[in-house]
Symmetry: C2
């Protein structure tokens, strides 16, 4: 008989599509809470998060029942539940590799520190960057990566290097014990199956928009 936890808090049972929306719900809850609300209906939260309410209720049902029929969800309670599921109730140290334009933007991005993450270490290889500081944090040489990752107990890293360096950096991170990587370099990373990689490619996003633009102008011509 396989493991079958009926209570909703088992992270293994939450669908990927739901996980990818939980951060949005958390953000929406934060916004609503700051506006002074203490409870919110599925419809209200759905609008704030930009999804429809049936989907939101289905998503939340995977983490258990924290709503009250006829009333809605307690914002404080639901915030804690989602944070718990996402593993955000413990501080997570993040390493950032590649302190170019994008890396500097990421290091300064307020959203990280505000939402349970702290950039704990910066790495680069450029002579003129190594040894300097960014926001009070020293930029170290890539050679120091294994030691620092171990000392600071870092398990999440962001790669913002040129694509040619990315695989070598990923290998080094994996060897040092990192098990989750956010990759901004436009290339496919080869990592062991126990390592999670998420990729963000800015040009890909624009190309998807381009497709929709193209489709719109096509349809426009059809109607003429």
């Amino acid at each position: 008989m396989p493991i079958d936890t009926p209570a909703g808090a088992d992270p293994r049972e939450i669908p990927d599509a739901t996980v990818s929306r939980l951060p949005e719900y958390l953000h929406a809850l934060h916004t609503l809470g700051e506006a002074g609300q203490t409870t919110v209906s599925s419809e209200g939260l759905a609008v704030a998060a930009g999804v429809n309410s049936a989907k939101l209720r289905k998503d939340l049902s995977h983490l258990g029942s924290y709503g009250v029929r006829g009333v809605g969800y307690d914002i404080a309670v639901l915030t804690i539940q989602i944070s718990e599921v996402l593993g955000l109730r413990q501080h997570r140290a993040v390493a950032l590799v590649g302190v170019g334009h994008l890396g500097q933007a990421l290091a300064g991005y307020g959203g990280f520190a505000n939402r349970g993450f702290g950039i704990a270490a910066l790495f680069d290889i450029a002579e003129d960057r190594v040894g300097t500081e960014l926001d009070g944090l020293p930029i170290r040489h890539l050679d120091e990566l294994p030691e620092v990752i171990a000392t600071e107990r870092i398990s999440i890293a962001v790669i913002a290097t040129p694509p040619l360096a990315a695989q070598r950096v990923a290998d080094s991170l994996v060897n040092a014990g990192v098990t989750s990587i956010l990759n901004f370099a436009p290339c496919v990373l080869d990592v062991p199956s126990n390592v999670d990689v998420r990729k963000v490619d800015l040009a890909v996003e624009l190309q998807i928009l381009s497709f929709h633009e193209h489709r719109k102008s096509r349809n426009g011509k059809v109607g003429t």
Copy 2:
């Protein structure tokens, strides 16, 4: 009788999931072409793009048959076909609003110009930025947006402003005629249904990784 184009090139018939992978295929084709290959099998291209070959073949089947049985795909031909479907065979001018850290990183991001996009205009409201130049392009005040968007025939824009300004910027862009927006501000944009919005939230990506980290440490404990 509804429109029913049997030939595979109708953009309306291509599933979203496929569209989101086409840019990856294009990139992989480019890499393989630079390495000197002229043809590639579905398996070879799939590995280069980081997907499995059945999915790749199914995706390509939506754009028509451009492979040769027993041989594979001609890299040059397939590159043109995918570019055509994505609407990349015509140059697309892009406006960038918000020239902070992230905006500067985006403006300097090589991937845009290399892949058929050109940043055609920069906007901001900060007194000390407006009037200066970035990579030879003047940073204009947001007030000039409607005029410039119209003159330059820009239909795609990138929002890299703080979240509080984003909705106002989006309204202004939509009024000026922009129909596709790439939003880096962590907020939900309200736009007419004919406008496509894609959102990239850096903190959301990290939170999804956090979930996976959390799950891994949970599972580790279960085994102990």
